[in-house]
């Protein structure tokens, strides 16, 4: 029955009052009174009914407004309510050596997390937890900050790498730790510890500053590369997070999975490094307080070992290093945190003489038969420049000057060559410039020029400065990696190789190839190599004591001893103090660059022993060991394949799946 009909009939009723059967005419007045009353009732009831109809219409309109006009808005809100997106942490890609030996892996990790929603007072609960397990001072603050950035039911990592004792302490004290839970996950681990720390670096928690807004960064246990290869290849290693769409109820509890997209593991990085050899190199260096070495391939540029001593355990950083351990590392005078092979910048000393010689040959100032008489010093204007050998070397040619490392030969000729030519040649051989090596810690070194001095100091370049720089002192600074590169280019037939570490990203080769031929006269290269051969093999060679007994593996090279502080006139007059009597950090640096075997060199080695006093006494013996061992292992002859040629676990899975 419609409202219209009803109101009509109601009106009809008013016009024709109902007959009231059974009532006598005697009570007519009463009847009319009651009819009046009934009419009044009808009018008023009609008004109330209209009012009710109005309210009902209003409700219908409101319902229509919510369910038609605003339906889309509310549908979105309902969906937001219902669905939570949860990130699934991807597995970080492995880093393996050239034979597939894992250097950076992921291991099972137990960690304590806190779910803000379930913790009433996070700060006091975190303080309570600290009674049972230890963690850093900043952690509480950091957790509180992070908790403000995510939904209240997202767990936030407090501390990881818990052992069984920690776990049981948390379990036992659970009643006093509402909101604290133990989660299992994966954590980065470096099984070879100190041997790979400078090479691979480490990962760590995303710091406040590093947050990019990607929600995956807030996942418990999520780490990013903080140094070395872990940092350089973070994008490739980190993988792609998966996603779980879950239906949640009003309290945030998960009801069921809607969709699950599995995370994609990070790529596996295969290095050119031979890890056993790397460990050997690290071991060899540890004879000294502080040293670094690079061993690379002369033709391909592949780095077989990149060692820096002392080192540190990268696993400490993954867990969040304690303040005390951190301060110890930071204040150690031998700088264990610095990779000296790429970030140590040293005056190259006599190892630079090849550059001066090459510049002389290229400029036509030096010829194979050019000779210089060394009286033990060289006078230029008012300056007197001493040779390292008191009394001098006598008559020197290029070969013998390199063999015996005569300073005066290079002093004298450098004035004719000029610093700019020396600088130009040095840079072509990879010194003083960024080599584009994969380690972000790589330093550029420095090669001076006249233009630089004018610009930097506003002063004219002095000829005396050329003299000093010609033997790798003065302004010249190089890294061991650069010296290795220089040596490779000198003995590989003039190919402009650059060192590299990363061989494959999964199956994809990253190996650089097709090195450009340098515009260098091969005869000049041969002349210099003869001099370097003689350094070891010659009768007077400065490193003749470091000959490799096996003649087929003989090495050539060049020693270098660089001053850390200037020797004053007074000291020369009173007789120089023995180096051994000086404080460690004032002693000379000992350097050596070498190659082997001497006929058709394959392996290049660059060594620095910080404050090792003498290149021939400290550095050359290390190079001998390194070059001998690498030839025995001869990694250049074994095929270089992704993951060492071993099909990895996950690729097998993919094939079968």
């Amino acid at each position: 029955m419609s409202w219209k009909n009803f109101s009509k009939s109601l009106k009809k009723r008013r016009k024709y009052p109902p007959s009231i059967g059974g009532r006598s005419k005697a009570v007519k007045s009463k009847t009319s009174r009651s009819t009046d009353k009934q009419e009044q009732f009808s009018r008023r009831a009609f008004l109330v009914t209209i009012g009710q109809g109005g309210v009902l219409s209003l409700l219908a309109v409101r319902m229509g407004w919510l369910q038609i006009a605003e339906a889309d808005k509310y549908k979105t809100l309902a969906e937001d309510n219902r669905v939570n997106l949860l990130m699934l942490a991807p597995q970080r890609g492995l880093i393996v050596d050239r034979f597939g030996v894992p250097l950076a892996i992921n291991v099972r990790d137990y960690r304590a997390v806190i779910i803000p929603e379930k913790a009433e007072d996070m700060e006091s609960i975190l303080k309570e937890l600290r009674k049972y397990i230890s963690y850093n001072d900043g952690t509480i603050e950091e957790v509180l900050k992070k908790s403000k950035k995510v939904s209240r039911f997202v767990p936030i990592e407090i501390v990881n790498n818990l052992d069984w004792e920690d776990l049981s302490k948390i379990e036992v004290n659970r009643p006093s730790l509402p909101g604290v839970f133990v989660e299992t996950g994966e954590i980065r681990s470096y099984p070879l510890k100190e041997s790979t720390s400078h090479l691979i670096g480490y990962v760590g928690r995303v710091s406040e500053k590093e947050l990019s807004g990607n929600p995956v960064e807030l996942l418990p246990g999520y780490k990013i590369g903080k140094s070395a290869l872990e940092k350089q290849f973070n994008d490739e290693l980190k993988g792609k997070p998966g996603q779980r769409e879950v239906e949640v109820n009003a309290t945030g509890r998960e009801v069921r999975d809607l969709t699950v997209v599995a995370p994609t593991s990070g790529d596996r990085l295969t290095l050119s490094v031979d890890i056993e050899y790397q460990r050997f190199a690290q071991e060899v260096l540890s004879k000294h307080k502080s040293a670094a070495a690079v061993v690379m391939d002369a033709h391909t540029g592949a780095v077989y070992a990149l060692a820096s001593h002392p080192s540190f355990d990268p696993n400490l950083f993954v867990d969040g290093i304690g303040t005390q351990a951190w301060n110890e590392l930071l204040n150690d005078p031998t700088f264990p945190l610095t990779n000296k092979a790429v970030a140590g910048q040293y005056p190259p000393g006599s190892t630079f003489k090849m550059m001066t010689a090459m510049a002389g040959l290229e400029a036509g100032v030096i010829e194979p038969n050019t000779t210089v008489v060394c009286p033990g010093y060289y006078k230029l204007g008012n300056g007197k420049f001493h040779c390292w050998k008191n009394g001098g070397h006598g008559r020197m040619n290029l070969k013998s000057a390199l063999e015996q490392s005569c300073d005066v030969f290079f002093y004298k000729l450098s004035t004719s060559i000029g610093i700019d030519k020396i600088a130009e040649v040095s840079k072509r051989f990879g010194l003083g410039e960024n080599l584009g090596f994969e380690l972000p810690e790589e330093k550029n070194g420095f090669i001076p020029s006249k233009y630089w001095k004018k610009k930097r100091f506003g002063e004219k370049w002095q000829p005396g400065e050329t003299v000093i720089n010609s033997i790798g002192q003065g302004y010249v600074l190089t890294t061991p990696l650069q010296l290795a590169t220089m040596t490779a280019r000198l003995v590989n037939g003039g190919k402009e190789v650059k060192p590299w570490l990363s061989g494959f990203m999964n199956e994809k080769p990253l190996i650089p190839s097709g090195w450009k031929q340098m515009d260098i006269d091969p005869k000049h290269l041969e002349l210099i190599k003869q001099g370097m051969d003689a350094v070891i093999l010659g009768e007077q060679g400065t490193a003749r004591g470091s000959r490799i007994p096996d003649e087929t593996m003989s090495m050539g090279g060049k020693t270098g001893t660089s001053q850390v502080r200037r020797i004053t006139k007074a000291e020369r007059a009173t007789g120089r103090k023995r180096q051994e009597d000086l404080p460690w950090n004032e002693r000379h640096h000992a350097l050596f660059v070498g190659y082997a075997p001497t006929n058709n060199p394959r392996y290049i080695c660059s060594v620095i022993v910080e404050h090792g006093i003498g290149g021939s006494s400290a550095a050359a013996p290390l190079a001998k060991e390194l070059l001998w061992e690498i030839q025995k292992r001869n990694p250049a002859e074994s095929p270089f394949l992704p993951n060492g040629g071993m099909a990895s676990f996950d690729t097998q899975q993919k094939k079968h799946g």
Binding site: M1, W3, F6, L10, R13, P18, I20, G21, R33, S34, D36, K37, Q38, Q40, F41, S42, R44, A45, L47, V48, T49, Q52, G53, V55, L56, L58, L59, A60, R62, M63, G64, L66, Q67, I68, E70, A71, K73, Y74, K75, L77, A78, E79, N81, R82, E247, V248, N249, A250, T251, V255
Partner: protein
């Protein structure tokens, strides 16, 4: 079509009376209760327990009671009007003494088997008493203040007691139903304008008497988004549920807001939200239409009644029913502040259903006994 084919008198046999019950009204009530069963089945996550089965049971028993009341001669209720009222008052006082607190307010008397909420029954008692009082009144009587003061006190006494509990929603509903009774009984118009003005003047004073949670509800009603996870949560989530239902609804048992517990009190005050989330605008309008039919039916019965007592009682009761429906639906759609008013025959709860079916029993009794002769005393 609602009109009975023949007049009944006091001597009509019981069987005959049964045949003349308003079966179409009963059918409409069953439809509403059916909506309740479907909604409670859904609220129980697709299960008859804990709510739907008891709802069916209660409705069956109470509907039988409703029919029994309908068959009892209206004169019986006319005679018992004041005693019923007195019992209601006694129960209201009893709730103050023995009732225990529920939801921050004393409203229940626990009789062991059933918990009763005297204020629900009191609404009916007030209406019966008013109907009896106004039954013999002439138009002249209705213009006399001295005649109007006793019924006003009859309203204010239970209102005062209910306010003590405190239950603002129910006391307001008693006041509103009472005002409607005055209005249809023929009280002069100026009285209502004066009363309206008085109420507006009293609002600031009344505000200070409100409990904290009541003040909060009103404030949050004015701006629900200001506190999306606090008390405004109810209104906001209810609107999300209704809006997201759209025209066709999410489907039976598929209301995410209700099933994932975003919706508060889904089996009681917010049951309408659950219904329209799953059945959409279509289901919502259907329910409104059924209720419109019930209300019109009630007004029709009132209109057809020959005696003032029945007219006033049926009208008052149907207005009372419509107030439940309007207030509940307006509340869940965010049109008025959250007040604890259930949706009759759909919300889970015994006392409200009992009160509703007693009301319809009385309404049908008015219909069945519309020609009964009642004393015309002054």
């Amino acid at each position: 079509m609602f009109e009975p084919k023949m007049r009944l008198n006091d001597n009509t046999s019981l069987l005959h009376k049964v045949g003349h019950l308003n079966w179409s009204l009963v059918a409409l009530l069953c439809m509403v209760a059916g909506v309740g069963v479907l909604s409670l089945y859904s609220a129980g996550n697709g299960s008859f327990s804990p709510w739907a089965s008891r709802h069916v049971l209660r409705f069956s028993i109470l509907l039988a009671g409703c029919l029994v009341i309908a068959l009892i001669n209206i004169r019986f209720w006319y005679k018992l009007a004041y005693p019923v009222y007195a019992i209601g008052i006694v129960l209201l006082i009893a709730v103050e003494i023995i009732g225990h607190a529920g939801m921050g307010a004393q409203r229940w008397i626990d009789l062991g088997i059933i918990q009763i909420q005297p204020s629900e029954l009191m609404k009916i008692a007030v209406l019966i008493a008013l109907a009896k009082y106004f039954h013999p009144a002439s138009s002249e009587d209705m213009k006399r203040m001295s005649f109007l003061i006793p019924p006003a006190l009859m309203i204010l006494l239970p209102v005062g007691l209910v306010l003590l509990q405190p239950d603002l929603g129910t006391s307001l509903m008693i006041v509103m139903a009472g005002i409607v009774m005055f209005f249809i009984a023929g009280a002069p118009f100026w009285l209502f304008f004066a009363g309206g003005a008085g109420v507006i003047a009293l609002i600031p004073i009344a505000w200070t008497f409100l409990h904290e949670y009541q003040k909060k509800r009103v404030l949050i009603f004015l701006d629900p988004e200001s506190d999306p996870f606090g008390s405004g949560y109810h209104i906001t989530q209810s609107k999300i549920a209704i809006g997201s239902g759209g025209i066709e609804g999410k489907g039976f048992l598929k209301g995410s807001q209700s099933h994932l517990n975003f919706l508060p009190e889904k089996q009681t005050d917010f049951i309408f939200t659950l219904w329209v989330e799953e059945w959409g605008l279509i289901g919502g309008l259907l329910l409104l239409l059924i209720n419109a039919a019930i209300i019109l039916y009630g007004i029709w019965i009132s209109y057809m009644c020959k005696h003032t007592f029945g007219r006033l009682l049926a009208f008052g009761l149907i207005v009372n029913y419509s107030l439940y429906v309007f207030i509940n639906i307006a509340m869940v759609m965010g049109l008025i502040p959250v007040v604890g008013v259930p949706l009759p025959l759909i919300s889970y709860g015994g006392t409200a259903m009992m009160a509703t079916l007693i009301s319809f029993g009385l309404i049908m009794s008015c219909s069945l006994h519309r020609d009964s002769k009642l004393p015309r005393m002054n």
